[in-house]
């Protein structure tokens, strides 16, 4: 039984294979040092592994499919002294060149040992591929991959979103251990997997130009590879914190604590047998205060009375008790009710049984987070929505060596995402959210059985009363199965790779808002609640329901029909011929993509149909969206101009699906969007098409000394079919004259130059300078940027404007000064200090004006007339995005010292982010163009408001200045980000290695 299972398991694994087989290889020659003659049949082994090769008649060898990492490689030949090269770095997807010159044993009798250094320029890469290895990750001290990626040329990190070479965030792909972990459901992009920096062997960023084996990401690919188990047992433990007893709101060395801590362990070694090696890492990170504000505390009224001793009484305008009051008070530089607690595990298990290699990789995380993102919930933090998410990636990759120069790779991968957002006081018990009886147990007083407490009205500011309901309920369960197969064979100078992949998602969502409406409706309809709750939902409560893959009650369903889960499928086949002629490398490839987004399409897009009786879109009016097939050519060259200068050229076409969240809705909410006359800022994309990009890239790298090199890369991209908000006119006879939808409408042209300068360590100093000049223009910046213009004028923007995230100049300078072992005396030995300067020239914005509060509450009067995402009332002054925010500079500092205690290397470090505590303006108010004043209080709207009801708005201006102008809380609530960068943060840590 068991042997059969094993065979089935192996067969299954090789029946399929892996999308991005991302191991590296070592190639080179072995020659006689004296004569230069090739040595035929010399043995080259990767020490501690079963990898190895023998040279051919030309003295050449290739060792394929080596996991990324640092290795020791040994060459031996009868009659010659062995040569060992240690610390040789193998990068995923690249060839590491290693030539041996052996000395006859008649001349020398000692083995030659060489310590390898990473090459300053990559001679084998046909595109700009930036690699950050574990050493540099440690030096940078950043605890997130995103921050490291943001330092690379061509990458912009702005307001939490990553943009590569002017593309939108959902055009960046992510892989972990070769598995595609791009979040295909999020237009803000991102990775589905949390990676522990201590577990990472390397992070690479390809800002375009990748070979045909990569797909479904037009802008760039961020790849992370985990460490591999070692031959000897190693462990490490790291603990770092910013807690110095200075909470709440008190300073320590000029900084505040944000309740941050991170504890990580790693352990690796052989297990059971030397053929089986494991690496495991676990991490807990906790942050009590996620947003990090400058002076987020309204210290004083204008008359000098302290806020924290002054009672503010409810005016009763919203229906609350006028005798109730609160004291408006919170700690400096933080807002309560924002926390994030995450447990992560990353690991690999390598079974090295040459010619069969199996590598099991896993990544698990569980994150609980709570964010109020809104000052008006300050007195109701108990009911802030809690989000609980788990992710699990299991990847089994296998390689079977068919011969000296050919192998087959296979992978099966499974990814699982489960998430819930809920009221932390009642969890899964949605019926209790608005139940006054349940609320009374916590002392909250409802106005009737299902109506939660009215807001306070504090001089026009609508603060939520304790017990008010702040969230609905959402649960998601998504997973995918992926499999692929690839064959690589070396025929003469051709390294041919042929492969294919298949990835099928299952996506489920159950989302219900407005618990008060749900409860009142079911209580008022007890017969239907008992006998046919589904009928009650479909006839009365449908507008609140957004469910697919779950039935209306929340049971998972796989049945076709109304509530069927979404099953997008991405399949590909590719062929890559990597031709290596001496140092000249040609990467020629062809990729076939099959994209089935499992979207909806109208039978006649100009004649949408809605059944008012059932509140549904009838089956006859809707059909499955199209499936798309594309062939994309890729061509890249890398060749040396001299032995220290390499040139590369790349051309390629890329295609990917847009983020699928735009296309997926439950049948009820979809019908509601269609039938309602209200504005939906987040409409549905019916039958969206893929986004297509054509990219050209040219660059060269030059090593101008033994220690320094630079590379320059210029790029040009054409992007077509990006998603944009549109209004679709209908035919006469349709039940509406038009409807809104997301369509493939935008296009963009981006170009730029990337410069990277690297300085290898010399006289204790190493460093790098990265700089990007870019020009990103397009018809719109993001998928709903054109909403205002489209809704108001019916004008679809067709002219190119600078995109919101185009930072014309952006870069970083990193310098590391470090005493090595036995250097500098006992105090300075193994002491390091490094500094990271980052800068950018700001980003475009549009001066705008508007009058009237519209549907906006007075407290957000300085933002838009209507509120979140709705820009209809705003009018630009001058061309769109013709103004720019100021330049931004930031300096981080890190000092570390390693001492040896017994057999342990103990590294103590201090890290300071924003060393100078610079209050950098990173966003501005549209009306004034600065971050200090939104201009609202000086408008006639504000004056009319205050004078029209002085009793209610008696101290509105004081409160507005304190909350909005000094602390940007309205902007933070509506935009989701601050106008200033984070203040200085101080962290200390210890890292123990064995």
């Amino acid at each position: 039984m068991f042997p059969k299972l094993y065979k089935i398991f192996i067969l299954l694994m090789f029946a399929v294979s892996f999308v991005y087989a991302q191991n590296g290889r070592i190639s080179g020659t072995v020659t006689d040092k004296q004569t230069g003659e090739p040595l035929i049949g010399a043995n080259i082994i990767v020490v501690g592994t079963t990898f190895g090769a023998a040279t051919n008649v030309n003295g050449e060898y290739i060792i394929n499919n080596i996991p990324a990492g640092n290795y020791t490689v040994k060459a031996s030949y009868i009659g010659y002294q062995d040569v060992t090269v240690s610390n040789l770095t193998v990068n995923a997807g690249l060839t590491t060149r290693l030539n041996f010159e052996l000395t006859s044993s008649q001349i020398s009798t000692e083995e030659v040992v060489i310590i390898s250094e990473r090459p300053l320029i990559e001679k084998t890469s046909t595109n700009a591929k930036r690699i950050v290895d574990s050493d540099r990750l440690e030096e940078l001290g950043m605890r997130g991959v995103q921050e490291v990626v943001a330092l690379q040329p061509g990458v912009v990190l702005q307001n939490g979103r990553l943009f590569i070479r002017g593309s939108r965030p959902d055009e960046t792909g992510y892989t972990v251990e070769g598995a595609d972990v791009k979040d295909v459901l999020n237009r803000n992009g991102g990775s589905l997997v949390n990676v522990i920096p201590d577990a990472v062997q390397e992070v690479s960023v390809q800002a375009g130009g990748y070979t045909a084996e990569f797909g479904n990401a037009n802008a760039g690919i961020v790849s992370s590879e985990f460490k591999t188990g070692t031959n000897n047992y190693h462990f490490s433990f790291r603990s770092e914190t910013d807690n110095f007893g200075n909470y709440p709101g008190e300073k320590f060395l000029g900084t505040y604590s944000y309740g941050y801590s991170s504890n990580v362990f790693t352990v690796s070694g052989p297990t059971f047998t030397e053929k089986l090696k494991f690496f495991l890492s676990g991490e807990n990170t906790f942050s009590r205060d996620n947003p990090k504000f400058f002076s987020a505390n309204p210290e004083r009224f204008s008359d000098g009375a302290l806020w924290d001793t002054t009672k503010i009484f409810d005016t009763g305008v919203s229906g609350g008790n006028k005798n109730e009051y609160q004291i408006l008070k919170w700690g400096n530089a933080n807002l309560p009710g924002n926390m994030n607690n995450r447990y992560t595990a990353n690991g690999t298990l390598l079974f090295d049984n040459n010619p069969l290699f199996l590598r099991l990789a896993g990544a698990y995380s569980r994150t609980k987070s709570q964010g109020m993102n809104n000052i008006i919930n300050l007195f109701n933090t108990d009911r802030l929505a809690m989000t609980d998410v788990s992710t699990l990636l299991l990847n089994l990759k296998g390689t079977y060596l068919l011969g000296a120069n050919s192998f087959i790779e296979g992978l099966v991968g499974y990814y699982d995402y489960r998430g819930k957002t809920y009221d932390p006081m009642f969890g899964d018990d949605f019926l209790s959210y608005s139940d006054s009886l349940a609320a009374s147990k916590f002392g909250w007083v409802f106005s009737n059985y299902f109506s939660d407490p009215a807001d306070y009205d504090f001089y026009g500011f609508p603060f939520s009363r304790p017990g008010a309901v702040l969230t609905g309920y959402t649960k998601d369960h998504n997973n995918y199965l992926t499999a692929s197969l690839a064959y690589t064979g070396q025929v003469d100078i051709h390294a041919l790779k042929i492969g294919g992949s298949y990835q099928r998602y299952t996506i489920r969502r159950w989302q219900v808002g407005n618990p008060g409406n749900f409860l009142s409706t079911v209580r008022n309809n007890p017969d239907l609640a008992r006998d046919s709750l589904s009928t009650l939902i479909s006839t009365t409560l449908f507008a609140n329901f957004n469910n697919y893959g779950f039935d209306v009650f929340g049971n998972e369903t796989d049945e076709e029909g109304l509530f069927a889960p979404k099953h997008p499928v991405f399949a590909s086949a590719y062929i890559v011929d990597r031709i290596e002629i001496s140092d000249l490398i040609i990467n020629a490839g062809l990729r076939f993509d099959h994209i089935d987004m499992d979207s909806w399409a109208w039978v006649d897009p100009r004649l949408p149909v809605f059944d008012t009786r059932t509140n549904l879109i009838p089956d006859s009016a809707i059909t499955k969206g199209d499936k798309f097939n594309f062939v994309s050519p890729r061509l890249g060259f890398a060749f040396p101009i001299s032995d220290k200068t390499v040139f590369h050229l790349q051309y390629g076409k890329f295609v990917q699906a847009p983020s699928l969240d735009i296309a997926y809705r439950g049948v009820f909410i979809a019908a509601q969007q269609l039938r309602s006359a209200n504005l939906f800022t987040n409409p549905i994309a019916y039958n969206p098409n893929p986004i297509r990009t054509t990219q050209y890239e040219v660059g060269f790298g030059h090593q101008f000394s033994e220690y320094a090199a630079f590379d320059v890369t210029a790029f040009y991209k054409d992007i077509k079919g990006q998603i944009q908000y549109a209004i679709i006119p209908t035919r006469p006879g349709a039940f509406r004259a038009n409807y809104s939808a997301f369509v493939n409408q935008d296009f963009a042209t981006t170009k730029g130059v990337e410069l990277s300068l690297k300085l290898r360590r010399i006289s204790r100093v190493s460093g790098s300078i990265d700089y990007t000049f870019s020009s990103a223009e397009g018809t719109n910046s993001l998928s709903n940027s054109g909403l205002g213009s489209t809704e108001v004028n019916r004008n679809v923007p067709t002219v190119l404007i600078p995109l919101d995230y185009n930072q014309t100049h952006r870069g970083s300078i990193f310098l590391d000064y470090r005493f090595d072992k036995d250097d500098g005396g006992p105090i300075l030995e193994r002491l390091g200090l490094n500094m990271l300067l980052t800068f950018n020239s700001g980003h475009p914005f549009t001066y705008s004006q508007w009058t009237g509060l519209g549907q906006s509450s007075a407290w957000t009067g300085g933002l838009t007339p209507i509120g979140t995402g709705d820009t209809r009332g705003r009018r630009p002054i001058g061309p769109i995005n013709s103004a720019k925010t100021p330049w931004v500079y930031n300096i981080d500092l890190r000092i570390d010292k390693t001492v040896t205690i017994y057999n342990l290397d103990v590294n103590f470090y201090i890290q300071v982010f924003n060393l100078l505590n610079t209050k950098s303006v990173i966003n501005v108010y549209d009306k004034t163009g600065n971050a200090y004043d939104d201009g609202f209080l000086s408008t006639t709207d504000a004056q009319t408001l205050i004078q029209g009801d002085p009793g209610r708005y008696e101290r509105f201006a004081d409160l507005y200045r304190a909350i909005n102008l000094e602390n940007r809380q309205a902007a933070y609530a509506v935009y989701g980000y601050d106008l200033f960068g984070a203040p200085r943060q101080l962290r200390v840590g210890v890292w123990i290695n064995y």
């Binding site: 068991f2 299972l5 094993y6 398991f9 059971f272 047998t273 053929k275 089986l276 595990a345 298990l349 079974f351 199996l358 099991l360 896993g362 698990y364 569980r366 609980d388 998410v389 788990s390 699990l392 299991l394 089994l396 699982d416 489960r418 998430g419 819930k420 809920y422 899964d428 018990d429 949605f430 019926l431 009886l437 009374s440 147990k441 059985y449 309920y473 649960k475 998601d476 369960h477 159950w510 219900v512 749900f518 079911v522 209580r523 008022n524 309809n525 007890p526 017969d527 609640a529 008992r530 006998d531 709750l533 589904s534 009650f553 929340g554 049971n555 998972e556």
Partner: protein
């Protein structure tokens, strides 16, 4: 027994899978049930003048007979717990008439259903529902505390007579005059009074009075129902809680 490491790989894989799946968020818990069964509590009071006793069925289920001026279930019995929602109450009277009433039992409410009116009316008796409180507002519950203060009783008045209006009620020395006289089928809100033995005097048709003595218990609520024709006016003190 030595386990071949080929099998060991598979075992480790399965073990890790199990461990990690156990730590995933449980999305199988449903936030709403597929059926929500609300209940109500009721008693039926037969105040239909001239019709005699009534035999009752509720949604086709027999409840039994209730005499004129009586209640079903009996005063000693608890209120009947029924599923909330649409109900059909059929009353077959001793005088041979029968009438069907459709009503909705309000979710979570405790109520009385009064059969009122005169047998002589062409339309026959009618049904009046009087909600008393949520069923979970019991004497022992936190939410019931405001309804049942110590040493206090609550009294409501219901007019079940076909030909009177009720003007006021005097409990001991406390006189409560209704701003609008209670017509047939109308009831007053609960009136707060100290517990103890009091003379209760009801003024009806502006000048006439009905007086009786009653021992009001603390933490109890009562409905005083007047019924039958004015010439033969009767009263019943119904214990609500």
């Amino acid at each position: 027994m030595k386990i071949p490491y080929k099998h060991l790989v598979l075992l480790v894989f399965l073990y890790l899978t199990t461990v990690f799946f156990a730590g995933c968020v449980d999305t199988s818990v449903n936030p709403i049930p597929s059926s929500i069964d609300y209940s109500s509590q009721m008693k039926v009071v037969n105040l239909a003048t001239g019709a005699g006793s009534a035999t009752l069925t509720l949604n086709g289920q027999s409840l039994g007979a209730v005499s004129f001026g009586g209640e079903l279930p009996s005063p000693q019995a608890a209120f009947l717990t029924i599923p909330s929602g649409s109900k059909t109450l059929v009353a077959s009277f001793d005088n041979g008439s029968s009438k069907s009433f459709r009503f909705s039992a309000t979710t979570d409410y405790k109520f009385r259903a009064f059969l009122v009116g005169s047998a002589a009316d062409t339309a026959g008796p009618s049904l009046v529902l009087v909600n008393q409180r949520y069923i979970w507002q019991t004497k022992d519950s936190e939410s019931g505390k405001p309804l049942f203060p110590a040493d206090t009783a609550w009294i409501s008045v219901f007019n079940g007579s076909p030909d009177i209006v009720i003007n006021s009620i005097k409990i001991g020395a406390n006189e409560n005059e209704f701003s609008a006289p209670l017509e047939t089928g109308k009831n007053s809100s609960y009136l707060k009074n100290a517990a103890g033995n009091f003379t209760i005097e009801v003024t009806y048709n502006n000048t006439q009075t009905l007086s009786f003595s009653y021992d009001l218990s603390a933490k109890s609520r009562y409905t005083i129902a007047l019924y039958d024709e004015s010439a033969n006016l009767k009263y019943a003190v119904l214990l609500d809680d």
